[in-house]
């Protein structure tokens, strides 16, 4: 079977998983379903011969499922899905279908699979090892050519950790009543 067929199967599986995650009423089961979607993406990366991305995606998916479950425990929320009227869901599906039909010319205009628009990668393949000394070209791009992006990523993680710490500290003090 060609690689595209496998990719279509896995992507269909992922779409199914995300729809299941949206429709489930139990939040814990939805988290597990989202984890399944991420693992499908990791297998896609492996099939496309991108081991770096596959590694990151596998580990991030495991960690995000753990962190989401711990967060469900920490916030202690049992979220119940509201029943929405049938007419509203029909309207939603119609709008999504119309948007897909409207976006069809856009998808038809894309270059074929395996022929990217950006030509800059050929420069990295040709010059990356000489300019950075790193045989792993992905690391060379992340930590040499695009090092400012990585700095921005680190700042994003820092800010999110600080934000979570701030929110949970205030909550704890309000609950226990001491420590002012």
């Amino acid at each position: 079977m060609p690689i595209e067929t496998w990719l279509y199967c896995i992507i269909g599986f992922m779409i199914l998983g995300s729809i299941v995650a949206l429709e489930l009423s139990d939040l814990l089961s939805a988290v597990v379903s989202i984890g399944m979607v991420g693992l499908g993406l990791a297998i896609c990366f492996l099939l496309l011969q991108a081991p770096d991305l596959a590694l990151v995606q596998f580990v991030i998916e495991i960690l995000s499922v753990i962190i989401l479950i711990v967060m469900l425990r920490a916030t202690n929320q049992r979220w119940e899905k509201e029943k929405e009227p049938r007419s509203l869901s029909i309207v939603k599906v119609t709008f999504v279908a119309l948007a897909m039909i409207g976006a069809l010319p856009l998808f038809l205009g894309l270059p074929p699979f395996g022929h990217p628009l950006l030509e800059v990668s050929s420069y990295y393949f040709a010059e990356g090892l000489q300019e950075t000394g790193s045989p792993n070209l992905l690391t060379a791009i992340i930590l040499d050519y695009r090092v400012y992006d990585t700095l921005g990523e680190a700042i994003v993680i820092f800010v999110s950790v600080i934000g979570v710490m701030t929110i949970f500290r205030r909550r704890k003090k309000g609950g226990s009543g001491h420590g002012q």
């Binding site: 081991p51 770096d52 590694l55 990151v56 580990v59 991030i60 495991i62 960690l63 753990i66 962190i67 711990v70 967060m71 920490a74 090892l129 950075t132 000394g133 790193s134 045989p135 792993n136 992905l138 690391t139 060379a140 992340i142 930590l143 040499d144 090092v147 400012y148 990585t150 700095l151 680190a154 993680i157 820092f158 999110s160 950790v161 979570v164 710490m165 949970f168 704890k172 420590g179």
Partner: protein
């Protein structure tokens, strides 16, 4: 958790951590790097915490230690950039010698930046987990950390 989970954790967690360190140190030669290496190391800590609960068999880094390490990672990253500036090069430029390719000590500042990203991401995610867990590792350590 029960006896089986604890025993399996005790025999496998050092392998996970070793794999994380391997990913970091060989990040510029093999698939891997600071981001995923830090995550695997954080995952080994989380693994022990999940299996053993509030009484881990060894001393794990608490909130204060992991926060210090995380900030140290950020300082190393920005510090490398400022050293580049001081040498008259652009911010965060690769100012070391490139070395021989395919050896560990090569590629200039890339291994150092990998280490900084490891501390930043790994300790950041572990700290996030500890904060969300609510109590940290034990109550009195929590009180000490807040100071």
């Amino acid at each position: 958790m029960d006896f089986i989970v604890k025993t399996v954790t005790r025999y496998t967690v050092w392998l996970i951590m070793l794999y994380g360190m391997y990913l970091v140190i060989y990040g510029h030669l093999n698939p891997g790097g600071g981001f995923v290496g830090g995550l695997v190391i954080a995952l080994s800590f989380i693994h022990v915490t999940l299996a053993y609960g509030k009484a881990p068999p060894a001393e794990l880094p608490g909130k204060a230690v992991s926060h210090t390490l995380e900030v140290a990672g950020a300082f190393i990253y920005v510090g490398i950039g400022i050293i580049g500036l001081a040498l008259g090069l652009p911010f965060l430029s690769n100012f070391f010698g490139k070395g021989i390719p395919f050896t560990i000590l090569s590629a200039g500042t890339i291994p150092l930046l990998n280490l900084a990203i490891t501390l930043k991401v790994g300790m950041g995610i572990y700290l996030l987990y500890l904060v969300l867990l609510g109590t940290g590792l034990s109550q009195e350590q929590d009180g000490k950390d807040e100071r």
